[in-house]
């Protein structure tokens, strides 16, 4: 018979069987729907953010295009080019500083702030939101004789200020004109250490801030004529000012950092979602298997009547396919419309603009994942269904062999699996992470399957030891015996818990690494922007303090490595992070005592010949640098070319000072610069140091390392909680699969209970046995998940994050307990029927 004829026949059989309704398929539908919905939901939110970023790119950037410099303002030539090219130009300086408020009792409150010094044209695009709702110029000229600022609520709260109050920036007094509620170009600033203040740059005159050598960025926002060729302008800017450290951005990518972050986090969450879908797949597979097991006699009968294997396969493939499609569509509707419905709430939570809508590409991605997962997980049982022979009718279904499906099916399954992984890699854009995830899931599945088999074998063996303790022995018998649900339960619960355990361990270790380990070795403060003439007084204050155990200080400049051996640096060293943007550069005559030279020689204290460079050894090796290489570094718009004469060990992990490049003093001393210092002090002495330095040198910014770490921790917390949501979806699916397993086993439980009651078992003992059975299975799954999760977390920590790893036992224990409880709950939820049923009802029906 032809395929078409077979298919028509199969379609008829399939539709007849589906008339029975969907009752046996709720779990299958739910598993697919939740998995697809989670992925579609995450994808929709990501797409909404991307759409928002794109639509508001110009506002986010503060102009159609922006050029920026580190550590300096634009020079005459650059300014001339900008005014010539753009309709309007706005100049901004962005830097850290301290805001202080002297109190009546003589003390002073201080807070770190990120200052944006603007000109009168700011903002070129978008509006600054203020409370009270007044225009920015009005707020910045709120007082007749004193300059004004606006500040974020976080800062005004910290310093106890309300509009009209005064505060000091550097050595100048300002009035708070209004509270800053919306900074249109906030997403471009990158990672700020303190809340924002906006001030006119002209008003900073006399404050001692923004002196030569201050660490600041300058930004020039431009509006361009309608129809301007942005690519051409960009090329011109980069061509003309290539080596001067000019950075270009335009509205097409207004907030590249945010976009990249959202993209990465989105991809990661989708991979977590895929793990959830894999758990769902286990449930789908179990549901299909259970369904086909019930259909064995139908299949055998059809075979007796002459149906070919192909007809049988197609009959059930069409049925399951129709159901899978239904589940996927439900998932798409859920994942597509729920974010849309919740758009106002979600938008409130996001720090960036988002434009919600239905994103066909995203939904298609989720649908593809759902379809491929359904295919991979149903083909196996389906392929085995066609192996059912007519003779099965006359023997017990249990004795049917557990043969592998035909090789063709195995190949097809493998191909779909490869397509699934490939699609995920393509969409997420990271092969590495995708392969890690896929490998992790595959590893966990294999491990869990082995564990399931082991658990069954162990239960069988333990039975003889449990003789005499009837409920325990029955529990072990139903775990170890035929028709055991150990495999699906261990697989689904185990995989869900593995993901949760891995996420928990990784998160805990990351946070632990930052909050626990670092502060022991890290300094109490970074001081930046110390002027050269302030250094003696500064050092005198901290070095004579008995509470200070160590002070490191170094001159600090920033520069961009532009050329290596006369060729553009990127050509030589590729896309190394050291070349992306500007890096700290220092100089020193004598070799600092914390520095170890690994190759070459350090210039002497009195050297004043041509510039020499000492480069960080590890990065040099990665970039392929050799001693004797010529390197050109652009510092403040001037090129300085030197020879690499030594490599040295730099430890970035201690949060001390790590400079990639160091040069001899005579090469850099002439450039305007400031000093940076780290101070290691007892916690009790911190406040006094802060006060004295602040009074002595108001322009100096002090960064408490503990505060900075807290901010990083808060950021991590956000990522971790996003990930936990993903893991929770996985677990929810896992729980559904558990319920599915419990549901499909209910008939067996009812039957066993009826027989046991006939033999004289009380309900209490039967309940005890059911509970023991669920708890044992759950604990088993939890233990395996723990092993798999810890292994996964270790691998991620070791290979990807390169951090130390320690098992977090509290979390681990919670996972095992959680598994036990979840399965106990699922089991007990289905204990009622076995307990309440009268034996006659069951045993009679089977007679």
């Amino acid at each position: 018979m032809s395929l078409a004829a077979d298919a028509r026949l199969a379609l008829k059989f399939a539709s007849r069987e589906l008339r029975g309704g969907l009752s046996g398929f709720r779990i299958l539908l739910a598993c697919l729907a939740i998995g697809v919905a989670a992925i579609a939901g995450v994808g929709s939110i990501r797409a909404a953010i991307e759409a928002g970023l794109e639509a508001e790119g110009a506002a986010l950037l503060g102009g159609d295009a922006e050029v920026s410099f580190t550590y300096r303002f634009a020079n005459e030539e650059e300014r001339a080019w900008m005014t010539e090219t753009a309709l309007s130009v706005s100049e901004i300086a962005d830097f850290r500083s301290m805001a202080t408020v002297p109190r009546e009792d003589g003390s002073t409150d201080r807070a770190l702030t990120q200052i944006k010094a603007v000109d009168t044209t700011y903002p070129l695009i978008g509006t600054v939101g203020l409370s009270p709702d007044i225009p920015l110029p009005e707020a910045l000229s709120c007082a007749a004789d004193t300059p004004c600022i606006v500040a974020e609520q976080l800062l005004t709260d910290r310093l106890g200020l309300t509009p009209g109050d005064t505060l000091r920036l550097g050595s100048k007094t300002f009035v708070l004109g209004a509270i800053l509620t919306n900074e249109p170009d906030s997403a471009t600033g990158g990672f700020g250490f303190g809340p924002r203040i906006i001030v006119r740059r002209a008003d900073l005159e006399g404050s001692g801030l923004l002196q030569p050598g201050t660490l600041f960025d300058s930004h020039y926002r431009m509006t361009l004529p309608e129809g301007a060729d942005i690519d051409a302008i960009k090329a011109e800017a980069e061509g003309r000012f290539e080596s001067s450290g000019l950075r270009w951005r335009d509205a097409r990518n207004g907030a590249p950092g945010v976009a990249r972050f959202v993209d990465r986090l989105g991809a990661f969450l989708i991979l977590v979602g895929l793990s959830g879908l894999a758990v769902g797949g286990v449930g789908v597979s179990a549901a299909v298997r259970a369904y086909l097991a019930r259909k064995t006699s139908v299949i055998a009968t059809l075979r007796t009547l002459g149906a070919t294997r192909q007809v049988i396969f197609l009959t059930y493939f069409l049925q399951i396919g129709a159901l899978a499609l239904l589940g996927i569509v439900a998932g798409l509707l859920l994942g597509g419309f729920v974010p849309l419905a919740l758009a106002p709430i979600i938008a409130d939570q996001l720090p960036v603009p988002a434009r919600f809508g239905l994103f066909p590409g995203t939904l298609a991605e989720a649908a593809i994942y759902g379809a491929l997962t359904a295919l991979v997980f149903t083909l196996w049982p389906l392929a085995r269904a066609e192996e059912v022979r007519a003779a099965t009718l006359f023997r017990d279904a249990l004795s049917a062999g557990r043969a592998l499906p035909r090789p063709t099916y195995l190949v097809v399954i493998a191909v779909f699996l490869a397509v699934l992984v490939g699609t995920a890699a393509l969409f997420s854009g990271t092969w590495e992470l995708t392969l890690w995830t896929a490998g992790g899931i595959a590893f966990a599945l294999v491990l869990l399957r082995l564990a399931g088999l082991l658990l069954r074998a162990a239960a069988r063996r333990a039975q003889s030891a449990a003789r005499g303790r009837a409920p325990l022995r029955w529990a072990l018998a139903s775990i170890g015996g035929p028709r055991s649900e150990a495999l699906p339960v261990v697989l689904s619960l185990g995989l869900g818990l593995s993901v949760l355990a891995a996420v928990g361990q990784i998160d805990g270790n990351l946070r632990g690494a930052i909050t626990r380990e670092l502060p022991d070795r890290a300094p109490s403060f970074f001081f930046v922007d110390i002027q050269k003439d302030q250094m003696p007084a500064f050092l005198d204050r901290v070095e004579t303090d008995p509470a200070v155990s160590r002070v490191d200080s170094a001159p600090m400049l920033r520069g961009i490595i532009t050329r290596i051996n006369g060729r553009p640096a990127a050509e030589v060293a590729g896309d190394h992070w050291v070349l992306r943007g500007d890096r700290g550069v220092t100089y020193s005559g004598p070799l600092p005592d914390t520095t170890r030279i690994t190759a070459g020689e350090w210039w002497g204290p009195d050297y004043d010949g041509p510039p020499q460079i000492s480069f960080a050894a590890e990065e040099a090796a990665e970039m392929g640098l050799n001693l004797g290489d010529e390197m050109t570094i652009n510092i403040l718009g001037r090129d300085i070319t030197g020879t690499v004469t030594s490599f040295r060990e730099v430890d970035f992990s201690t949060a001390g000072m790590g400079f990639i490049t160091a040069m001899n003093p005579s090469a850099l001393e002439g450039a305007p610069h400031s000093f940076i210092a780290t101070v290691y002090a007892d916690a009790q002495a911190e406040a006094a140091i802060l006060r004295d330095i602040g009074n002595e040198a108001p322009n100096v910014t002090a960064i408490r390392v503990r505060d900075a770490i807290d901010r990083v921790a808060v950021l991590l917390q956000g990522i971790a909680s996003a990930t936990s949501w993903g893991a929770a979806a996985t677990l929810l699916t896992g729980f559904l699969v558990l319920i599915g397993a419990a549901l499909s086993g209910e008939r067996d439980r009812v039957y066993e209970a009826a027989v046991l009651k006939t033999l004289g078992a009380s309900r209490r003992r039967i309940l005890g046995s059911l509970a023991l059975r669920s708890a044992l299975l759950g604990a088993g799954a939890g233990l395996v998940a723990l092993a798999a999760g810890i292994a996964g977390a270790w691998a991620v920590s070791y290979f990807v994050l390169e951090t130390d790893f320690a098992v977090i036992w509290a979390n681990a224990l919670a996972i095992v307990l959680g598994g036990l409880l979840a399965n106990l709950l699922a089991g007990l939820a289905f204990a009622w029927r076995p307990l309440s049923v009268r034996p006659a009802q069951v045993l009679r029906a089977q007679d």
């Binding site: 035929p482 067996d748 033999l759 006659a840």
Partner: protein
Amino acid sequence: MTDPILSLNDARLTLDGNAGPVDILRGITLDVEKGETLGLIGPSGSGKSSLLMLMGGLERATGGQITALGHDLTAMSEDALARFRRDHMGVVFQSFHLIPTMTALENVATPLELAGKPDAFERAAEELAAVGLAGRADHYPAQMSGGEQQRVALARASAPRPDILLADEPTGNLDGPNGQAIMDMLFGLRDRHGATLVLVTHAPDLAQRCDRVIRLRDGALDRAEAAA
């Protein structure tokens, strides 16, 4: 004369069928003497199994009274009934009803375990040997033939030495020779342990081996037969 070991007084059973309540047993009054073998015959659907279920406390009578060994079964809780069966009754079904997740030996040991016998497994092994299945102790029900399964069920029912054995067409699913063997064993067990046996059967020759035969028709005792 001693008290009957089993006594039914106007026992009734009404179940909810698809088309409303169905009267399945319409007032059965019947005594079974200790040591007696009672045959229950009647056409299919006449209520034989239902009657046996009532006697075993596996089904609750919706009317009337059932006493076994002086205990009123109709007044007992579900668990009390279970314990009563554990201590006094063995049941054999037409379709065996072994627990599929347990081996033959474990199936037989289960009622002994329930009764708290420390040597449950040793005794179970002896019982299995007695029905000729010593070599099959570690087999699961699915790995055994129907005849073998029924022998396991028989061993399981008789292992705790019940006072009353209830058997519902124990040979109904078996072919001639196998059925014959099962019946020989059943009567052998009765003789050896002196149990009272209530046997539902279709086969006239089996009925003849009973001390007394009662015929059911449409949920009621066929009076003519009962009197005979």
